[in-house]
Assembly symmetry: C2
Homo-oligomer: 418 residues x 2
Amino acid sequence: MKSLEELRKEYEDYKARGLKLDMSRGKPCREQLELSMPMLDTLDSKSVMAAEDGTDTRNYGVLFGIPECRALMGEMLGVPADNVVVFGNSSLNVMFDVLGHAFHHGIMGGTPWCRLEKPVKWLCVVPGYDRHFGVSQYWGCENVCVNMLLDGPDMGTIEELVASDEMIKGIWCVPKYSNPTGNSYSDEVVRRMARLKPAAKDFRIFWDNAYGIHHLYDDNRDEILDIISECAKAGNPDMVYEFASTSKISFPGAGVACMAASAANIEDFKKQMNFQTIGHDKINQLRHVKYFRETESLDVHMRRHANILRPKFQMVANIFDDELFEIKNRGLVRWTVPKGGYFISLDVPKGCAKKVVKLCADAGVKLTGAGATYPGGYDPEDRNIRIAPSFPPLDELETATRLLCLCVQLCVAEQDGF
Amino acid sequence: MKSLEELRKEYEDYKARGLKLDMSRGKPCREQLELSMPMLDTLDSKSVMAAEDGTDTRNYGVLFGIPECRALMGEMLGVPADNVVVFGNSSLNVMFDVLGHAFHHGIMGGTPWCRLEKPVKWLCVVPGYDRHFGVSQYWGCENVCVNMLLDGPDMGTIEELVASDEMIKGIWCVPKYSNPTGNSYSDEVVRRMARLKPAAKDFRIFWDNAYGIHHLYDDNRDEILDIISECAKAGNPDMVYEFASTSKISFPGAGVACMAASAANIEDFKKQMNFQTIGHDKINQLRHVKYFRETESLDVHMRRHANILRPKFQMVANIFDDELFEIKNRGLVRWTVPKGGYFISLDVPKGCAKKVVKLCADAGVKLTGAGATYPGGYDPEDRNIRIAPSFPPLDELETATRLLCLCVQLCVAEQDGF
């Protein structure tokens, strides 16, 4: 290990380079965006604009989305088309609206949550997705942390909490290639989730299957059980809403989002949708169907994404292995090596995450804010950092990752005091 | 005037024809949808996808919309781009969300409306737009009717109500080519609206400028004052949200919607947007900008729409003139002759609207439900029928309109008793 002096010198050298790199968000990179450009050729002024049931996709209507797009998204999720509703471009917006429905209107005739005497509590698997936590916080929930373990959330704690407290109304889950840990829920965890016996009748699992087909490898993939059918088998058919989108498949700004749920849940949410909109963008739905049915299969398309992302994930892992090996052996740091998704989770020494992120920022590399993976931005141990390797080009990613490692080494050396 | 017997015979003849016509909603017709098809050629796989500020429209982000689309919508409304936020495809959805923000979060730090002891009251100009009334009803408002007069809503009543009752928090307005009357607010009405002195500090005018450039004629157009600047002049800069979309300009299912408001209102609503979404469909925003800046001007485009719609409006007016002339002279019916928009408002004899609509339905012509132009579907005089001439082809429109006139004649003859 290098001396503190050497490390400080190296850090000053980085600073002198005037870097301006961004690893803060899970954005697809330019090459990934290029992959979907042929989708823009699927519709032009000569195209037949009718859906398979004859509906003119250009006009008003069709609240749940055109049938073939419901089917496409259903196939992606392994859920029948009838259980799928297609929305606009943002699954986050759908989650926001479903929670709004629960707060204002109540789920299936239950008391609207905004009318309850006490605040609703919401389980947040940590580390997790900051925007999820923001949505439940916005609607007024008290976010309650539950730890992510190697095979999914700590189910023992969840089972106890939901069974004993009827103010716990829901949980955020990213079950596959989770944000930010990149690991997936085991079959046992999914089954235990489906078998929950919540005290609240209107408890709902918000199952954000954001990375369902976002594998990095052909031969080394995570697969998870279908939560919709598991819930049905467990006698809890209405306990889950599943969400997904093509944001990281086609275009992040211009994909299609969907919700899958039981017929009863869909019927219930329709009561809000009927007032909210006349229908979502069916032309974009048709564009997606044409591209992924006629031009390129989802599977091939996702392999192309993987070919761009894999080297980035591998580079970060390799640099971590090289640079943080000693510190890891001392038990001070750990990181995940995901087989898919968009993130790597790095735990630095306790009390150092904010410092590492600031050191990186001061040297021109923007990371996701320390604490962002916890509700309210408060990481009690101040140690988790979310690494988002997708956006920067490889050379920038290498620089940024090496700087990050240097900052971790610097923190450790300063703690060691030599 | 024909005898009751003759009219009944004619009605039975219509019935025997097995018609299946739909005049129920203000949907653009197929020819109108064709007008915008070249918009689909503006972007293809070879296109440069950057916005004018360099943003990649394909990726995440840009909460308020790309600058050039904000400018385009701003020009349409006569409002600076900085005061415009561009959303997804549905302005109704934006209104729904803004009302949700007020109910759940409160406007500019005010008490959230769902926390108030008494229900919020909402002014509804009648006859008006059923979906507006549905949104305020959904959020829990008590809808209060105010009459539409020839030059806009009854301002005297509105001034009195908003000044005296702090539970009145807002009003729905369609200021130009109003739905369904087709008339527009006079300058005096707009100014009085802007000068309102509401008891509620968080009172807001929901100004749905849905038909701002939807003229039928080149030389005979309504123009209204800009409410945003009038409110500012009157010392009420934050009292209004203006809404619009390209739903009836480009594609009803795949246009872009916007809100125009003061900087303070936009900043306030941003608090919700930040949690709700990462951004709306910027590719579709770019598509609209390219089409209306490079291919076809909005003005020329709207003339093409007018050329399709004008004969339909004129046909309905002519048939009404022919068939309902005598009944009109007796003061039993009246109708509007709009210079733009999508609707004609027909008042049939008191107590006859439901009957007329049912007679038409029984003969295979679907009209907008009687009462739909009033909150809760309750027209106290049961006399208003909204005519939507845009969708059916001319020959079908003629048949439907003649049947409608016959049904009105039949009702009158039955009332007359001979």
